[in-house]
Symmetry: C2
DNA sequence: CGACCTATTGAAAGCTATCAACTGGGGTGG
DNA sequence: CCACCCCAGTTGATAGCTTTCAATAGGTCG
């Protein structure tokens, strides 16, 4: 289990209950902005859902647990993405920072009062829903090698060709995202390396060498 | 391949291009309602995305294809659900009716003009996103038997206990939804039957016999 | 009643998970 | 400054589950 303690404050960071930097002078719906360290659990699956959150900067991982401990990382979020969604007033996922992150929080009631916010969230939800559809295809129909190729392409926008990508996830986290085991993820990395499609400077620093072959593996996506 | 011909009109039903019942007197953004037969492809993945659609009645299936023909049914929709989402002005999924269905269509530009519509879609997107998160857990971490149990519980609301559920999907469609093969789905049905958790009156008529055991299999969901 | 399509069941192969050992890098403490 | 420890990652061997290929059964419609 990763730490859920914020080393700056020494306390658990759970925005609905904890201190809220920058919000003292505003109402709770005025988008208080929080700066959060890496590897901090921001939301817990099953907690009462009072807030909706936007990633301003950094990376956040949403995950769900089965009663026996199996975990699925259901979504990877970056700047602009929204989380804190709820079924029956209960958070449906846990949220954990992968890197230091800046996050805006809104009271759920703000959705009705603030049409500009609602419009922004609507566009973002549409985009995230499309990404989830792609991810269902990955989880349901792709082989291990294809999943890892897809994962790396997803993290490496077309713009940054030839640059080195820093993975801020462990093999276990990648495995939980792709519906595999950490060993299978490791083997897939080794296979991509062996085929000359990627270069691993370190375990968490990847360069895509042959983008064409990667695209073909990942289903031309 | 299922038919994409509407037997009532004799023509392909593709709303952006085809005839639009009930809409002759209204602008294209005034939610023309269409009545569509079962097993009709309403939207094609990759077509230009001009409309956004709401299921009023019936069941709709969203699917994505890989270049080599592998298919994933990414979402099952019922009354209230929304589809016709787009990446880069292109439909991200194909949509096919599973039953006769009634569908509302909105011009995408209506989202900016109609805040009531936008608010409704926002709530619905949130719900669908949560369902997709659950589905990612199913696809990534559950065994074949667990997936089928989950599928049946999802189709059988708590209210209707003891009633017979009519599956409007073939084994192949269920398999494509659950990330399995049709043979594995069939074996899972047989196993659930053998264990006394369900009764199959016919291949497409299921009664859940032991809901508790089903819930345990499906991860208490 | 026969044709055809869907579903079921069986047998074998393949891919991923599991269990286990080993490697390597980073940090700590001597 | 170096040695050791610890954890993440890699690699190997085996098991298990699902897929694949194939044959049979069931049901519907002409």
């Amino acid at each position: 289990m990763r730490q859920i303690i914020d080393e700056r404050t020494g306390g658990t960071v759970r925005p609905p209950y904890g201190a809220e930097p920058h919000s003292a002078l505003h109402g709770p719906s005025h988008a208080p902005t929080m700066r959060i360290a890496a590897h901090v659990t921001v939301l817990h699956e099953g907690d009462p859902a009072r807030r909706i959150m936007e990633v301003v900067d950094g990376a956040v991982m949403l995950s769900k647990l089965l009663p026996d401990g199996r975990r699925q990382v259901v979504e990877l979020l970056g700047p602009g993405d929204v989380f804190g969604l709820a079924h029956d007033e209960i958070y449906a996922c846990s949220a954990e920072t992968l890197t230091p992150a800046t996050i805006n929080t809104h009271d759920r009631s703000a959705l009705e009062r603030d049409p500009v916010l609602a419009a922004r969230l609507l566009r973002r939800f549409e985009a995230q829903l499309c990404v989830m559809h792609s991810h269902a295809l990955v989880l349901g129909r792709m082989s291990a090698l294809e999943r890892v190729a897809f994962f790396l392409l997803r993290l490496m926008p077309d713009g940054m060709v030839g640059t080195t990508l820093h993975l801020s996830m462990t093999r276990q986290e990648i495995a939980d995202f792709l519906g595999l085991t950490l060993e299978t993820v490791s083997r897939a990395f080794s296979e991509l390396k062996r085929r000359g499609l990627v270069v691993l400077q370190r375990a968490d620093e990847v360069r895509i060498q042959d983008r064409g072959s990667m695209r073909r593996l990942a289903g031309a996506l």
